[in-house]
């Protein structure tokens, strides 16, 4: 028990601030996207292997919980992309810029840009959810 508690506190506190937040968000959004992608490859493959099952899969995606999940998924894909671009650009072009000041600033920029890109998408998807599942 003690070990678990120490690990959890350690995980939450490791260095902290923007760097730790973007590290955690990058992993969580990446793992979330991969989980969905693995399922999505299989559900799409039913169009060839078991066409009658595809309709069933799509009906699940049309349910309210999964449409809410889809809105979260879109945030994951956007955040992971913007933050990944930050990592790739600094690693490949400006490796000397991996210092605390630049990275704290760029991590905040990444989160801001990701939220700004996500909001219009979330609005359109939320509207579609209200129209189709709640009769608006």
């Amino acid at each position: 028990m003690e070990v678990v508690r120490l690990n959890v506190t350690g995980l939450a506190r490791y260095r902290g601030r923007e760097g730790q937040l973007s590290f955690l968000l990058h992993r969580l959004t990446g793992l979330g996207t991969l989980l969905f992608l693995s399922i999505h490859i299989l559900d799409t493959a039913t169009v060839y292997f078991f066409p009658s099952l595809y309709e069933h899969a799509i009906n699940l995606y049309r349910s309210t919980p999964l449409m809410l999940g889809e809105i979260i998924l879109v945030f994951c894909v956007i955040y992971h992309g913007v933050n990944g671009a930050r990592i790739a650009i600094f690693d490949l072009l400006f490796p000397g810029k991996w210092n605390i000041k630049t990275q704290r600033r760029s991590a905040v920029w990444v989160l801001t840009i990701a939220i700004l890109l996500w909001l219009p998408a979330a609005y359109l998807m939320g509207r579609s959810l209200l129209i189709h599942n709640f009769g608006f």
Binding site: I41, T44, V47, Y48, P51, E70, G81, A85, A88, A121
Partner: protein
């Protein structure tokens, strides 16, 4: 203190060329490529078209175009490989035994190959409407 960490951060190190450094580079190349590929796919299918307008006929119509099939094929190849290698990197942080890491790598390679083949077969075979 700050000055010292910054000095450490910009230190240059020699990395031997090998599978891991190739994987490291390709995570960045494939990641950059996936920004237009994955964002384009999500924007069209999830945001603009929406799951309520997607069915077998919609997939058949989209895959009638060879260009969209090639697009989906590229997405499958790059996104899934990028994702499974990312999962390997994350899990390696929690596995310290070299033997367990090797088993994990083989297991993930098999998982990646299996799902990629299933997905690729569907894209090549297309929609079967009875």
């Amino acid at each position: 203190m700050t000055a010292r960490t910054e000095e450490l951060a910009s230190r240059q190190v020699e990395v031997p060329e090998g599978l891991e450094s190739i994987a490291w580079k390709w995570m960045r190349y494939s990641g950059l490529l996936l920004i237009p590929l994955a964002w384009g796919h999500v924007l069209i299918q999830d945001v603009l078209v929406g799951v309520h307008r997607i069915d077998l006929n919609y997939v058949a119509m989209r895959w009638a175009s060879l260009g969209w099939r090639a697009y989906d094929f590229a997405l499958l190849a790059f996104a899934f490989a990028h994702g499974v290698n990312g999962l390997r990197q994350v899990l390696n942080d929690y596995i310290s035994s070299e033997k367990a890491r090797r088993w994990l790598a083989w297991f993930l390679l098999a998982f990646w190959l299996l799902l990629s083949l299933i997905g690729a077969a569907a894209i090549v075979g297309g929609v079967r409407i009875d």
